[in-house]
Subunit: 509 residues, 2 copies
């Protein structure tokens, strides 16, 4: 990538790019390319101009215009966020699909994993968990006490069951249940119950007077005293605990009989997301995960990527990979919905980048988006899901969710992922209770600092020690090992579990 009589100091992705990314912090006056010197300190991950640029010139990174210069920037200038204007977002009415669905990519060595089959479900579990759903936050106090008791008194008797997880959330009552968009949280909770990691066993704890009635979540033949506890029908607290314990015991007995078996990767559904991205995410962790995704898709698996505001600026590139006009239409309508949702509060997709993203060198949402979509690899995009919807196809799928880590994680769980890969630049100890989370970092510095939290170091790509393909294969293998229960990620090891955060764009009352 670099002129090579000297150790590489910067990374340039596309020949069109007129900025480079500092691999490490460059002091003022550093020679960053032969005979080219910096005019100021350039922090790690930040952009330095590669030619003499003038006010009004376009800045290119990834071969894409990420904005226009608001000031002159002679070669060697630190191009920071305040020096670039934000381009318009791509038009949503002229998106075109170009893919014929063919995918010319080497088939990986491994085509199976060891999972838990689930009757009537296209995907298998990677874990064997008793999931207890609540219809409303009101029951959470009782449920927390009961789950502690189940873990203490019952779980040890059922060694084939990995965990008991309370799917508590803030939806269910005190909400405008008939409002526009209330379908999103309702669908999400309904589908969460059916996550393959819960083995098809249904256990729901209701209060009895809430707006989210049980018929919104379960079908008629599922609504019975084997699956549903209603606290208002219990004679007081002791009986509530007893009712939850009794049902849990019966469910644990069934779950304890489950066994892993060798299954084709078409029964694996995983999710991808970024959290705390930096300038390296788009050149190390995300493309390496993208390579792993391509291997998975080639082997028949289903891979969801998400985060609408981080796809919005690259939507034309995602559209080109779609395979038909229905998918394009849904892609466009999910993006329009989000544009509108944000505009109601007078913001747009540029409300996405965080202080940490900016410290990490990402100037605006366009630059962040170009890095973010790299995680989706190169395969055809076969489906677009509304938040919390369940896939109907195998392959690479765009699951439209917010970019918020905990909301994206929750919505992907609702869509049925049984494992998640999270790429991070700044570092987050994120984890999920209902599925193992593998963390891939973008920078060596972070891996050195957090060696007991980061599972894969993709920073080696920036330093030239490894290729994107090398790290991609490493991630692919780790995904299959963790999915098969042969390895644990750090987050699973320590039981680092973020709370569920259902996406509720509708008002609360």
């Amino acid at each position: 990538m670099n002129n090579n009589s000297m150790t590489p100091k910067i990374i340039k992705i596309s020949s069109k790019d007129n900025v480079g990314i500092a691999i490490n912090t460059l002091e003022n006056g550093s020679e960053f390319l032969p005979s080219l010197y910096t005019h100021s300190l350039i922090p790690q991950g930040h952009k330095v101009s590669l030619t003499n640029l003038k006010k009004g010139d376009s800045i290119y990174r990834y071969g894409v215009e990420i904005g226009k210069l608001l000031v002159d920037a002679p070669v060697g200038t630190w191009i920071d966020e305040h020096m670039i204007s934000l381009p318009l977002a791509p038009d949503l009415d002229t998106l075109e699909y170009l893919s014929d669905g063919q995918f010319d990519f080497p088939t990986p060595d491994r085509l199976t994993f060891e999972g838990y089959k689930v009757d009537g479900c296209a995907y298998a579990g990677t874990r064997n968990i008793l999931g207890i759903t609540s219809t409303v936050q009101c029951v959470s106090g009782v449920l927390k006490v009961a789950v502690e008791k189940i873990k203490r008194e019952l779980l040890p008797k059922y060694p084939q069951v990995n965990d008991v997880v309370s799917l508590e959330h803030s939806y269910g009552c005190g909400v405008a249940i008939n409002a526009t968009d209330a379908d999103i949280p309702i669908r999400s909770i309904k589908n969460l119950i059916k996550n393959p990691n819960f083995g098809g066993e249904i256990m729901v704890v209701c209060l009895g007077c809430e707006k989210l009635t049980i018929d919104m979540l379960l079908s008629e033949n599922e609504i019975n005293s084997k699956n549903v506890v209603i606290l208002q029908e219990c004679s007081g607290y002791e009986q509530m605990i007893e009712a939850v314990m009794d049902m849990a015991k019966r469910k644990l007995e069934v779950l304890n009989k489950r066994k892993r078996e060798t299954l084709p990767l078409s029964q694996l559904c995983i999710g991808l997301q970024c959290g705390g991205s930096d300038s390296f995410s788009g050149i190390t962790a995300n493309p390496a995960t993208g390579y792993a995704s391509d291997l998975l898709v080639k082997a028949g698996a289903t891979v969801l990527f998400s985060e609408v505001t981080e796809v919005r600026d690259g939507v034309d590139k995602i559209a080109h990979r779609c395979t038909n006009s229905n998918t394009i239409h849904k892609l466009s309508s999910e993006m329009k919905w989000y544009d509108d949702y944000l505009s109601r509060s007078n913001v747009d997709r540029n409300a996405n980048p965080t202080p940490g993203n900016k410290t990490g060198g990402l100037c605006n949402i366009v630059e962040k988006a170009m890095g973010s979509i790299a995680k989706s690899g190169t395969s055809p995009i076969v489906e677009v899901l509304s938040p919390g919807e369940i896939p109907t196809k195998c392959g690479m799928i765009f699951a439209a969710t917010p970019a918020s880590d905990f909301v994206c994680g929750t919505e992907q769980l609702a869509s049925g992922i049984t494992l998640q890969v999270l790429m991070t630049g700044r570092g987050t100890p994120y984890g999920l209770a209902a599925a193992p989370v593998i963390k891939v970092c973008s920078r060596k510095d972070l891996f050195d600092l957090w060696s007991d939290l980061i599972d894969v170091n993709a920073g080696t790509i920036a330093t030239g020690e490894k290729s994107i393909e090398d790290v991609g294969v490493e991630i692919f293998n780790l995904i299959l090992d963790v999915a098969s229960g042969k390895k644990k990620s750090w987050a699973e090891e320590y039981k680092l579990e973020n709370s569920l955060c259902i996406f509720n764009p509708a008002p609360i009352t």
Copy 2:
């Protein structure tokens, strides 16, 4: 209240009322008043017409029009929700204050409580708790593990400290931090940190790259390594846990020196809310709590009532009790804000009632509101707070929050309540981690069913066994006993703790 040659069958509140409330379910053909018979079964808590009513007639309950009849209803007819139209909400531009601030009410016997004084804070604590705030959900996985460890290894060494509470929430990142209305969640978290039950000790766990930066929550002199742990600055997981444990230990040492002392009730700030109301709430639990509130206010305490959508239809009555035009202006603007917030999703305040409210006999939001505002008693209303704001005056205050139990509870905690009273008709096992919750039920049936969850049975008012004043004094005394640490409510006894649900009307990204 009733003609008395027979056991009372119905309750009529105002002489203007043309419907009565069935104290117990009345069979078809029951004599509900001398020589007046029902035309159908009237479920408990539901309305029966007291005269021959015609389509278009106004229905009066509490002396207030709760809607117009859509059909004829001869005397003895069950008036259900489908038979009544919804009146327009009161106009917000013509509200008038009528109170001069004088409050002619008997002074109660008890004028003090045993609380924990807090330096620089107008209110004292009722409990001595280490509160650990997080800036963002990302840190919650680590914080949950750490808090368990603190409870297990440290808390037993500090016997004067009641508990350790993690103030985790779903705000902090993945949010449009500059959006209209983002001030609400930010203020709420900022003020939660200062709840008097945390004794003025500040402990905040940050990630380091989130949007909710620490300077939005703490003042410059509070931001230091004694109060703030930043996970991204820790060398991995073990050191994160260690850093949180170390800080917790230092805070526990300080908190352990706190002692209860006899304090005037001007240092007590409590909150009131309804959860799962029914038709009896407005005639038993709520007016009895209103009487207790009047006693508290007379004795100098601060009492917050909330739930905008349940006050909206009685806002003119609340306005009359305000003491100046500033308060009226704020009352009106909070109501307008909420009207607008709901209308953005094509709903209005009538999205509030739940299936349980309706089963319990409440036809619409007007009828629910008339019962809801009864909890505020009769005293002057001296201030109106935006969600999560801290009071500047003692007395009865309207704290504008959503009616959602868990959101209202969270926002009242942010406003500084150190104890909450929750009135329920249908029954909820609700509780808070940061403050004791006393539960008052509206019906004897619920008390009989949940005798180990309900602290006060106000159902005795409907049966004529006790007066509103009797139960009000009982509630007043229990509030002071629980506040003083002499008694525990059931929710506290079992540690029934709902999750914090910060009110975030702004979009997530």
